[in-house]
Amino acid sequence: MLSYILRRLLFLPVVLFGITILIFMLISTLGPWTRVATFVPSPDAERHVDLEAMIKKYHLDDPPVKMYLRWVNNLLHGNLGWSQSSHMTVTEAIRRRFPATLELTLFSVIPVIIGGIILGVISAVHHNKPIDHTTRIMAIALWSLPDFVLGLAVLMVGFGVLGWFPPGRLSSWAQLEVLKESFRSFTGMYTLDALLNLRLDIFWDALRHIIAPVITLSCLWWAFMLRITRSSMLDVLNQDYVRTARAKGLAEAVVIKKHALSNALIPVTTVAGNMLLGLMGGVVIVETVFNYSGLGLLTSTAATRLDVPCVVGVAIFYATILVLVNLVVDVLYSIIDPRVRLE
C-alpha cells in the first residue's frame, strides 16, 4: 500500500503541471487591456491610473509562453504572486483564508456524514414504511432548496428571531481578545485556537458563530448523503448473500451492520470524498450570507475582479487538495472493502 501511495504522490506534480497549462491557455485568451482592469476596482475609479504604465510594469502584454515560464519560475521560488483583490500575496491569502474554510468543513462533515448515513440506513431498512417516506420527502425538499434561501432562512431564525447564531466568525469583544498578544494563534481555526489557549469563552463564541453556516451546509448535503446511502443500502439488502445471512438465522442488527453496511458504504465513500472537496474549496453563497470569509469568497472576488494570480494560485492549491483527498478515498476503499487491493 505504501508504494501505491508514493506512486500516487509522485503523480501529483504531473497533475499540477497539466492544470497550470490548462489555466494559462484559458487566460491567454484575455488581452492585456482586459487583465489590467484588475488594477482599477470600478469604472469610475480609472481617473489618473496610468494603465499603459501598469501593463508595462506587470508585463501584461508578454506572450503567454513567456508569462507562463515567469510564473513557473516564481512558483519554484515559493512565490504565487500578488493578489490585487485581497491586498496580499496569494500564498498569504490562502494561508489566512483556508483555516476558516477548513474549520467550517470539519464542523459540517461530521453531522453530514454521520447523520446522512444513519438516516439513509434507517430509511433503507424500513423500506416503504412511514419513516422512509418522511426522510425521503425531507431529503428532496432540502436538496431542492437553493442555498441562499436556506441560508437566509437560517440566519433570519437563528439570529433575527432567536438571536443565538450571529453572522461573522467572532463577536466584537472576542475579536479584540484574539488580537491581544496573550492569545496565540496556532491553527487559524478559532474554536481550536481558543481551546488551545484555554479560553472557553472565546470557544463558545466561535462555536455560536459557526453553528448557523454548519446547519445550512448540513441540511443541504444531508439530503444528498441520505439518498446515496439509502439506494446503495437497498441494493445490498436485496442481494443473495444478505438473504443467506438472514437464513442462517443471524440477528437483523448483525446482518445490517456486519454484512450489508460495509458494502453499501463504498459508493458513499466516493461521494463523501467529493463532498469534502466541495466544502474545502469554499462555499460562496453560504460564506456570503453568514459573512464568513473563507476560500469561497476569496475565489469569487478574485474571479470577478480578474485577479489572475489569485485565481491560478487557488486553482493550484485546490488541485493539490483534490489529488490528496482522492488518494485518501482510495485508501479508505481498501479498508472498508477487503476485496479492494491497492497495488
Binding site: 469604472p43 496580499m88 444513519i118 440566519l155 466584537s172
Partner: protein, 620 residues
C-alpha cells in the same frame, strides 16, 4: 434494533446538550457582547461592503481607504461645520487668509503656524519639520494613480512629479532624466514647502483658490506624518539625492500600506486584510481630548445586505452601509435612524463620444446613417446631443430608481456646491417635443428620415445605470419608430478595453469630488485635458479647448470669490447648452445607525461615512 435506539439517544443528547450550553452560556456572555441587552458604549461596529485598497496617504484614492486614514491622522485645517468654503484650524493654530497676512496678496505664499504640544500615537511631539516632510515625501513618492497631483498642480504647476522632472530635463520619458535634473526636481519640491521658525510656508507656482480645501481635513493626501518614525520604518530619509528609491513604489511596498502613525483621534490596531476588518483604538493623548468611543471595528466584509440589516437590527452593528435601493427596508425599523437624501459632492453623467471608433464596432451597427447604425461622428452634431438630453426622463428616474435621493443637475457642478454658482439657471427636463425638434434638425433631417441604431453599455452589476440606460432608450424610441436603442450590460474587465479604444458610443460614469471646489468638477468634465472630456473624443476635446478652457482657467486664477461665482455660473449654463455630456443626476447619500448613536453631523465632502471622534453611544 437496539443500536438504532442508542443512536437516536446519542443524537438527542448531543442536540439538547448543545442547545442547553448555548442558551446557558448566553446570559454570561451578554455583558461582553454588543447585543441589545449587553449594550456596550465603548465599542462601535460599522458593517460595510468593499474594503480599503491601501492605508498609504500618497496612494489611497478610494473612500474605503480614506475612511480609515481620516480617523488616524489630522490635517492642518478642517472645514467649518456646515460650510464648504470656511475653515477652522486643526494642526495649524490659525487659518491663513489675506486679511491676517498669512496668505500673500498675490495668493502664492501660504504661511501656516503649527500647533505645539500635539502628540503622535508613539508619543513623539509634532514639529513643523513633520509637516514639511509629509508634503515633500508624498510629492516625491507620487505613485501612479494616486491623489498627489492635487499637491503637485498648485505647488509645482505640473500634473505629476515625473512630468515636472521631464519638463526640467527637456526629455519625454522619465527614465531618461539625468541625475542632475532628478536632484533639481527634489530641490524644487523642498523649496516649495519650507519650515520658518514655528511656521510652515508653502510657495505656490500659481494662485490657486482651492488650496485650503486641498489642505483641509477629508483630504487623506495632506495628512501629517511622523518624520522620525517614517525614517525608522525605512521610508525616505529627507535627502534630495535619494528620493527616486521611494518614488512610485508598488502599493504593497509602501511604508504605510497597512500601518498608520498619525496624530489623529484613533490608533490603528490592525487591518485584518483576510477578513476586510479594521480595528481602531482611541488615542488617550489626542490633543483635543480622547474619543468617547474607545474601540471602533470597521467590518467591510459584509457584502450581503440582509446580513447587514439583521446585524443592525440586533445591535451587532451600530451602523451599516445601505445601498439606495435598500433604504425602504430600513425605513421605519425601530431603534434605527435612517438619514436619507444627504447631498454628496458627486454626480453621474453619460458622455457623448463624438469620434466613435467605428471599425468592427458592434455598438454602432452599420457605422453609417442608414437606419441600421450611426456614423462615427454622430454625437458631434449638437442637435443630437440636445435631443438626447431632452429624451431622458429625469424626474421618473429620480423618483422610481433612486427613490428621490438625487436631483436634476444644473450643469457639471453638483448641487452640493451651490455656494459656488447661481442656483437658478436652466435645467434640462424630459420634453419629447423638444427632443423631436432637435432630432429633425440633426444631420439636415437625415436622422429623422432614416432613423438610427445604437447600443448603450452599462457596467455589471450597476443596475442603477442599467435603468438609466433603459429610461433613455425608451425616451428616444418613443419619439420615432425608426430610432432603435439597445441596452447591453458588460463586465468591467470586458468594458475597459472597449472604452479605451473609444468604441462605446456613450460612456456612463460618475465623479466624486476630491475637494470641495467647483474646479474639481469643471476641470475633469470640461477642460480639454480633463479626465472625463477624454471620452468625448477628438471633436469633443477641440470643442472644449475652444469653448471651455478659457473659462476654466479664469475660474482657477480668480481670487475674488464673487467673480468666481460668476464664472462658474457661466460654465454651468454653457455645459448644458453645448452638452458635451448628458448630465443624469446629482447623487445623494444615506446613513443608517442605531438611535443611541449621538453626535452625527453630515459632512458632504467627508470621505468617511462617520467621524467616530464626534460620536458617542448613549441610551436615555
Amino acid at each position: 434494533m437496539k443500536s438504532k435506539v442508542w443512536l437516536w439517544i446519542v443524537i438527542a443528547v448531543v442536540v439538547i446538550g448543545a442547545g442547553v450550553l448555548v442558551l446557558n452560556k448566553k446570559p454570561a456572555e451578554v455583558a461582553k457582547t454588543t447585543e441589545v441587552a449587553g449594550f456596550n458604549p465603548d465599542i462601535f461596529v460599522y458593517a460595510g461592503s468593499g474594503d480599503a485598497e491601501t492605508l498609504e496617504p500618497s496612494r489611497a484614492y478610494d473612500t474605503a481607504s480614506s475612511e480609515i486614514i481620516y480617523q488616524c491622522y489630522d490635517n492642518l485645517v478642517a472645514y467649518k461645520p456646515g460650510s464648504l468654503s470656511e475653515f477652522i484650524p486643526m494642526l495649524a493654530t490659525e487659518v491663513p487668509s489675506v486679511e491676517n497676512g498669512l496668505i500673500s496678496k498675490d495668493g502664492r505664499t501660504y504661511t501656516i503656524p503649527i500647533r505645539k504640544g500635539v502628540k503622535f500615537h508613539n508619543g513623539a511631539e509634532l514639529t513643523p519639520e513633520d509637516v514639511e516632510y509629509s508634503f515633500e515625501r508624498n510629492m516625491l513618492a507620487d505613485p501612479v494613480g494616486g491623489p498627489v497631483w492635487m499637491l503637485i498642480e498648485p505647488l509645482l504647476g505640473a500634473s505629476t512629479i515625473e512630468d515636472y522632472a521631464c519638463e526640467l530635463a527637456g526629455v519625454d520619458d522619465f527614465s531618461k532624466v539625468n541625475a542632475a535634473n532628478l536632484l533639481k526636481t527634489a530641490q524644487a519640491v523642498m523649496k516649495a514647502v519650507e519650515v520658518k521658525g514655528d511656521n510652515v510656508v508653502f510657495h505656490l507656482a500659481q494662485p490657486y483658490p482651492p488650496f485650503l480645501s486641498i489642505l483641509a481635513r477629508n483630504s487623506s493626501w495632506t495628512v501629517i506624518l511622523n518624520k522620525q518614525w517614517m525614517i525608522e520604518q525605512g521610508d525616505w530619509d529627507g535627502k534630495a539625492e535619494t528620493w527616486t528609491q521611494w518614488h512610485n513604489l508598488d502599493t504593497e511596498k509602501q511604508t504605510l500600506f497597512e500601518q498608520a502613525m498619525g496624530t489623529g483621534p484613533y490608533k490603528l490596531v490592525e487591518w485584518d486584510r483576510s477578513n476586510s476588518k479594521h480595528t481602531l483604538e482611541a488615542f488617550a493623548d489626542y490633543w483635543q481630548g480622547p474619543a468617547a468611543i474607545k474601540t471602533v471595528i470597521i467590518n467591510n466584509s459584509v457584502t450581503e445586505f440582509n446580513t447587514r440589516k439583521l446585524m443592525l437590527q440586533k445591535g451587532e452593528a451600530d451602523a451599516i452601509y445601505v445601498p439606495v435601493e435598500n433604504s425602504p427596508q430600513i425605513e421605519g425599523m425601530s431603534g434605527v435612524n435612517l438619514l436619507r437624501g444627504l447631498p454628496r459632492l458627486s454626480n453621474v453623467c453619460a458622455i457623448f463620444n463624438q469620434n466613435i471608433n467605428a471599425t468592427d464596432n458592434e455598438f454602432v451597427g452599420s457605422g453609417k446613417l442608414d437606419g441600421n447604425g450611426i456614423p462615427a461622428d454622430f454625437f458631434s452634431d449638437l442637435n443630437i446631443r440636445k435631443a438626447f438630453s431632452y429624451a431622458f426622463d429625469y424626474e421618473a428616474f429620480i423618483k422610481e430608481v433612486v427613490l428621490g435621493e438625487a436631483s436634476v443637475p444644473y450643469g457639471v457642478i453638483p448641487a452640493g456646491l451651490n455656494g459656488f454658482f447661481d442656483e437658478k439657471g436652466f435645467r434640462y427636463s424630459y420634453d419629447p417635443e423638444k427632443a423631436e425638434e432637435y432630432f429633425k434638425k440633426a444631420f439636415n433631417g437625415e436622422v429623422w428620415e432614416k432613423g438610427f441604431k445604437v447600443s448603450l453599455i452599462w457596467n455589471i452589476p450597476n443596475t442603477t445605470r442599467k435603468t438609466a440606460c433603459e429610461i433613455l432608450a425608451a425616451g428616444i424610441e418613443a419619439i420615432n419608430p425608426k430610432f432603435k436603442v439597445e441596452v447591453q450590460g458588460m463586465e468591467w474587465a470586458t468594458m475597459l478595453p472597449r472604452r479605451r479604444e473609444g468604441r462605446l458610443p456613450m460612456v456612463f460614469i460618475g465623479w466624486l469630488a476630491d475637494y470641495a471646489d467647483p474646479h474639481n468638477f469643471v476641470y475633469p468634465y470640461l477642460h480639454s485635458k480633463g479626465d472625463l472630456i477624454t471620452f468625448t473624443g477628438e471633436n469633443g476635446r477641440a470643442l472644449a479647448a475652444k469653448e471651455f478652457d478659457p473659462l476654466v482657467n479664469a475660474g482657477i486664477n480668480e481670487l475674488n470669490p464673487e467673480k468666481r461665482v460668476e464664472i462658474y455660473t457661466k460654465l454651468q449654463k454653457k455645459s448644458l447648452e453645448l452638452a458635451p455630456h448628458l448630465m443624469l443626476y446629482d447623487s445623494c447619500d444615506r446613513v443608517a445607525m442605531k438611535d443611541y448613536v449621538k453626535g452625527y453631523v453630515f459632512d458632504p465632502i467627508c470621505p468617511a461615512q462617520y467621524d467616530f471622534y464626534a460620536l458617542s453611544k448613549t441610551k436615555e
